[in-house]
């Protein structure tokens, strides 16, 4: 037992040495993209108590002697990956580290991301080394309702220390591998719907049950209230808007089905994937829901065969709020990196400013965390990415990532 404690202590120490905790930090950036306004030449960011204490021109400011000094060519807010499965879909891709999808039933909204997230999976560190400070991660597409996502920092200590919102969204998939057409074991969960229409019918039936459940839970007479039901409880939170539905839909008919569901049940939804978005831009725009767009470099096949590298630019032109994501990968590469996805989107019509916003402030707004991160603003969490050149150039390096004031130098990458 003593030996075990010693080992635990050692590993704890090792984790802490990668990042320095409480020391104040001063960062001088030749170009600082605060996302609050135009880029600042020769900017300074002061970090104290894990928050941004100052972000502005360096001219005329003195840097206190107790601050650790960092310099970078370019500084941006820490990157936000608006839809990931990192921490649940482990690096090895073996049965024992794949916790992003339980195939025992098609509807399991009660599956929480916090009960599965491995803060120390090497892929979490990998993402952080490319400037990613915040993830909306959790259960993958592939079941009608696969579970939930949470919003977490990439500090890599423990889910308790790193979590920002433990129950961010309820993950729904329409079409794709959530529909199981083959006999016997397939990609989908057991008892998966066999067609698109059946999938929507199953979901509607479950939502009606949850409406009923929520109504009965309000009964004045306590004895008439139904027993707690984790599944319906979660869906009821989705119905009252306290937890949003993240609906993965790629084909245009699936996107329209998602919008139809939202209208019927007055849901707050976020559209995920949306390979066919350019075919139904007007409908998406009119519905007013944001889109977390598929990775720019995602593979085009089956439901995603229409995806395009310039869809982000089209969403931007249509005025639809959107963010970018690493998504879920079942094989190599086991995770994508939003820095790279934003880079290719920037170069395929989106442009630098909008691409940067799609992985910082715009993503924070969609995730509802713009009060604390997404821009370099006094009082917000000190989440930053430091680069030795244009962040999107393939040959630029991330020289440091700052997560809530802790400086990580996993690279340079």
């Amino acid at each position: 037992m003593k030996a075990l404690i010693a080992i635990l202590t050692l590993s704890g120490t090792a984790a802490l040495t990668a990042a320095e905790t409480s020391q104040p930090v001063a960062i001088l950036g030749e170009t600082v993209h605060t996302l609050n306004g135009p880029a600042i030449k020769d900017g300074l960011i002061l970090v104290r108590e894990s928050r941004v204490a100052y972000a502005g021109p360096a001219a005329g400011r003195t840097i206190p002697a107790d601050h650790r000094m960092l310099r970078a060519k370019v500084v941006t807010p820490g990157l936000i990956d608006a839809r990931a499965t990192a921490g649940l879909s482990g690096i090895l891709n073996q049965a024992q580290d794949q916790d992003m999808l339980d195939r025992s039933a098609p509807l399991q909204p009660e599956l929480r991301a916090i009960d599965a997230y491995n803060a120390r999976d090497p892929l979490v560190t990998w993402l952080r080394s490319f400037g990613v400070t915040t993830l909306n991660t959790g259960h993958a597409p592939g079941a009608l309702v696969s579970g939930q996502t949470m919003i977490v920092r990439t500090a890599g200590h423990s889910v308790e220390d790193d979590v920002i919102n433990p129950a961010a969204m309820i993950t729904v998939s329409l079409g794709g591998n959530a529909v199981s057409r083959a006999e016997g074991p397939s990609g989908g969960a057991a008892k998966s719907p066999g067609t698109r229409a059946k999938a929507v019918a199953m979901l509607r039936a479950e939502l009606i049950k949850a409406q009923e459940y929520a109504r009965k839970r309000e009964a004045k007479d306590e004895t008439k209230r139904p027993a707690r039901d984790l599944r319906l409880e979660t869906l009821a939170r989705g119905l009252d808007g306290s937890q949003r539905f993240l609906i993965t839909a790629h084909r245009q008919q699936d996107i329209l089905a998602a919008l139809r569901l939202a209208r019927e049940f007055n849901l707050r939804i976020v559209l995920d994937g949306c390979a066919d978005a350019p075919l139904v831009l007007e409908e998406i725009k009119a519905a007013g829901f944001p889109v977390i767009l598929h990775p720019t470099m995602a593979r085009a096949s089956e439901d995603t065969e229409n995806l395009a590298m310039d869809t982000a630019a089209r969403l931007a032109a249509a005025g639809i709020p959107f963010a970018l994501q690493s998504g879920y990968e079942s094989y190599v590469p086991k995770t994508r990196v939003v820095l790279f996805e934003a880079a290719v989107a920037a170069a395929r019509g989106l442009g630098f400013e909008r691409a940067l916003a799609a992985v910082t402030l715009d993503a924070a707004r969609i995730l509802g965390i713009d009060g604390r991160t997404g821009s370099l603003t006094e009082g917000k969490d000190a989440d930053l990415a430091l680069f030795d050149g244009d962040p999107f150039e393939y040959t630029t390096h991330v020289t440091a990532t700052v997560v809530a004031g802790r400086v990580f130098t996993d690279g340079p990458r």
Binding site: M297, N306, A308, V332, Y394
Partner: protein, 447 residues
Amino acid sequence: MPQRLTAVLTAALLSVGTHVSAQDKPLAFTGARIIPIAGQPVENGVLVVQGGRILAVGPAASTALPAGAEVRDARGKVIMPGLVDSHSHIGGASGADGASPVQPEVRVLDAIDVRHASIQKAQAGGITTVNVMPGSGHLISGQTLYLKLRDGRVIDDLLVRLPDGTIAGGLKMANGTNSIRSPGGPFPGSRAKSAALVREQFVKAQEYKARRDRAGNDAEKLPARDLALEMLVEVLEGRRIVQHHTHRHDDILTVLRLQKEFGFKVVLHHVSEAAKVAAEIAAAGVPSSVIMIDSPGGKLEARDFALENCAALERAGAEVGLHTDDGVTDSRLFLRSAALAVRAGMTREGALRAVTIANARMLGMETRVGTLEPGKDADFILLSGDPLSVYTEVEQTWVDGVKVFDLSDPTDRLYARGGPGAGESRRSPLCCFGSAWDIIMAANGGN
């Protein structure tokens, strides 16, 4: 069918065959920054092609334009050799089936769709020569095919012929976890068994070759034809290069050990852990075709994948190529792999060689492709800017002096960017494109 229409159809077919032939008149691109790979980049350079070959390349000041040349202004553009991808799975190709882990007789040749969208997308990425491989689920999964990405109607239009008339290609082999399956069947259950099975095959092939050599021209004494052993004999005689999937450092060393035992030519593919054994790879004089992926893992043997593999091999003095492994990475972004190699420490020159001449050598095609030099195939790409910048786009791709991709063409652009229809095969010229259809309509009195 009326005879007149049949005749016109035949004429249309012939014209489809000939409209893709190279120009007879010299074609010159002027004013571009030219990266010939052979030698230093040239500012304000000139590239002249004719009859499918490169006629001249060099600085404007010292490169004469031939009389009658058609001149195209390429100021502001960058011209470099067409990219060579040493490992891809475009064309919807498949190789061996589940019957056995060793199937050298199976040919990718018999399984490629030349109109497949993935081939159009590879052209959009500037790829002009490609090694199309069967998968890695076998120790020996079949014969690979070296293709020139011409706009062909049938596979024959894309083939590369060796001087003796045979079709150019390699032999795909693999070790590590992909070919290991649960016990009971013909597939190996361990790494040592994998190596033993392969050695057994090559020993058989050595004996087969000895019997053939002894028989000489005596037909009576020749052993019965054996498609699998014939193929391995080609490998033993150095007429066919082994293209070998291998990731982990110990698996890499196993390939080098077998290479030494049987003396075949081999290229190491993927080499996720190359950085751990870069000195050994360099000492063996064996080239590596490296994959650049966005994160490690996804399978056990790629857990320790490092972006620094190219740099480590380059520093050790080994030959380094890069590949797409399409669909693992996207052919349209092949230059990105070179840029990521630079990000992780490789030299710029090395990275550009890795997507051109180094790969050409790994396919034994270095005398024809991979650099811009007079006499070589007129395979080149026009870029909007620096090849390693994310903001650069491939604007044109030329194979044998014929333009096969143009970003300003709406159909080509669809394949380049994606969108509805980008997953569909290239349509037949007789089906839907204007020219041939117009001929047929005209033959029918315009109706």
